[in-house]
Symmetry: C2
Subunit: 258 residues, 2 copies
C-alpha cells in the first residue's frame, strides 16, 4: 500500500459524511496535472517514462498508465510508441489550428497555406462587466484587446476580437500577433507560458453591420456566423475570450457528434 506517500483521500470522510473516495490513478492524474500546470514539463517535451513515474509515486506501471491514458484522451499528453509521452502543444501538431473548425466546402484538406493575419488593433484597456464575467475578472481589470482579420488565399474570411487578461499577457504587441510563425495559441505558449487546453463556443447567425461588412468585403446585411469562444488553461481558468465573425459563403463550420 503506497498510499502513505500520497494525499490520502481515502482515510477520512468529508464533514458531510460523503466517502470522497478517489481511485489511486485519479490521484496520480491530479499529481501529473499539477506538474503540467507548474511547468515542470513544457509543451513539446517528454515527460518521464511510465516506469520512472511508477517508481516516483510508488505505484504499479498499470496505474500510472491509466492516469496517462486519461490525460491523453483529454489531449493534454500525446503518446508515441517507442519514443515516450509528450506534453501536447499547439505548435507542430499535425493539425494546425486545432480549435478552428471552419473548413473549405470542397476538399477539407489543408492544401491551403496558413491564414494571413492582419492586425487592426492591439491595445490595453479595461474589462467591461460582460468581458470580466467571461474571463473571471472584475469590471475595470486590465485586459488586452486585439482585433484582426484572417484571410485565406487573399480572401478576408474571419473578423475577430480577442480579449486576454492583462496580467498574464503583459507586453503583448501587434508585431508579435502578426509575425509569429504558427498558430497564435502556439505563440501564447512560447511567449507567455499560457497553454489553452479546452474551449467552449456559442454560435449564432448574425447580419454584418456596415463596418464588419467593409472589413470582410461583403455586402452589409450578409449573414455571418458569430462564434464566441472562451478558452481555458490547465486549471480550468478562462484565459481568452474571442468573438469571431465567419464568412460562410464557400466555407462551413464542421462539427462531429457522437
Amino acid at each position: 500500500m503506497p498510499s502513505s506517500t500520497l494525499p490520502d483521500d481515502t482515510g477520512a470522510d468529508t464533514a458531510q459524511g460523503a466517502p470522497a473516495f478517489s481511485p489511486l490513478y485519479q490521484q496520480i492524474k491530479a499529481l501529473l496535472l499539477q506538474s503540467l500546470q507548474a511547468g515542470e514539463w513544457k509543451p513539446g517535451e517528454a515527460i518521464p517514462s511510465e516506469m520512472e513515474l511508477a517508481a516516483r509515486y510508488r505505484v504499479s506501471q498499470g496505474t500510472v498508465r491509466k492516469a496517462i491514458d486519461e490525460l491523453a484522451a483529454d489531449n493534454l499528453l500525446v503518446r508515441r510508441q517507442g519514443k515516450g509521452t509528450f506534453v501536447a502543444t499547439h505548435a507542430e501538431q499535425h493539425v494546425q489550428y486545432r480549435f478552428l473548425k471552419l473548413v473549405p466546402d470542397s476538399g477539407d484538406r489543408d492544401t491551403e497555406g496558413p491564414a494571413e493575419r492582419h492586425i487592426l488593433e492591439c491595445r490595453r484597456t479595461r474589462a467591461t462587466a460582460e468581458i470580466a464575467r467571461s474571463l473571471g475578472l472584475r469590471s475595470g481589470d486590465a485586459v488586452v484587446q486585439v482585433r484582426r482579420v484572417l484571410s485565406f488565399g487573399g480572401v478576408p474570411t474571419i473578423l475577430e476580437d480577442l480579449w486576454l487578461p492583462g496580467v498574464a499577457f503583459k507586453g503583448l504587441t501587434a508585431e508579435q500577433m502578426a509575425d509569429y510563425p504558427g498558430p497564435t495559441y502556439a505563440m501564447f505558449e512560447v511567449e507567455f507560458g499560457v497553454r489553452m487546453v479546452r474551449a467552449e463556443e456559442k454560435i449564432r447567425a448574425v447580419a454584418a453591420d456596415a463596418q464588419q461588412a467593409k472589413l470582410l468585403a461583403v455586402a452589409p446585411g450578409t449573414p455571418l456566423l458569430s462564434v464566441e469562444r472562451v478558452a481555458y488553461t490547465y486549471n480550468g481558468l478562462p484565459m481568452e475570450l474571442r468573438r469571431g465573425l465567419y464568412r460562410t459563403g464557400d466555407r462551413h463550420y464542421r462539427n462531429e457528434l457522437s
Copy 2:
C-alpha cells in the same frame, strides 16, 4: 493462445506485405460491434457480463474490458457499476436530444419541456443527385422526406427537412413522427431498428427566404443558422440527411472543443 477461435488477423500478411496486425481487444471490439449491428442485444438491454464474454471469446476479462471501454467511449455502450453494461439508446438517456446542440442563452438547463413537433409534410419521393450522394444511394432511389417545425414554449425555433432511405424507413407516417413520445431518434430505434450512432454537421449562416421566414415567424432576410447533418448507424452507413434552420435570437449552438 485463444486466437484459434478468432478471425486470425495476425496469421497472414496482406498482399501488399503490410503486417495488418490488430490487437486482440480490437478483434473483440469488432465482434461486439457485429453483435450490436445484428441486433443480438437491443438498445437499452444489458449485454453479457465481462466474465461471460471473456469465457465466450476465450480471452481474459481485462481484454474484454478494454474492448468495452472503447465502445463505451464511443457512446455505443453504457457501463453501470453493479448492474451491467447496456446498449446505449436515444430513449431514456438522461440527456434528451443528444445530437441537438441548440440551447437557450440563459439557463442552459433542460427546465423546458420537450419540443412541440409540427409535421408539415411526410412523403415518399426520389433522391436527387445531391441527396443520393449524402445517403450513399443512387439518384432516383426511394427516400422519405419529412418537413417539420420544432417549437419551444410555443415559439417556432427550428425548420427542418429530413431525408431517409426509403428501404429502411418503409411505412413511416406523419402520425408516427408527430405522436411518438420522446426523441425522433428513439422512435427510429423502436419502429425501424435503426440506431444513429454518430453524425457530422456543416454549419453556415444564411438569410431566411419568404417561405422560411413565414414558417419561423421572423422577418424575411433574418440570419439563421443552417445546420446540415448526416447521421450514421453502427456500420458507418449514412441513414439520415437533415437540414435545419435554427433561430438564434435567444438561443445558441453550443460546442465544446478540446
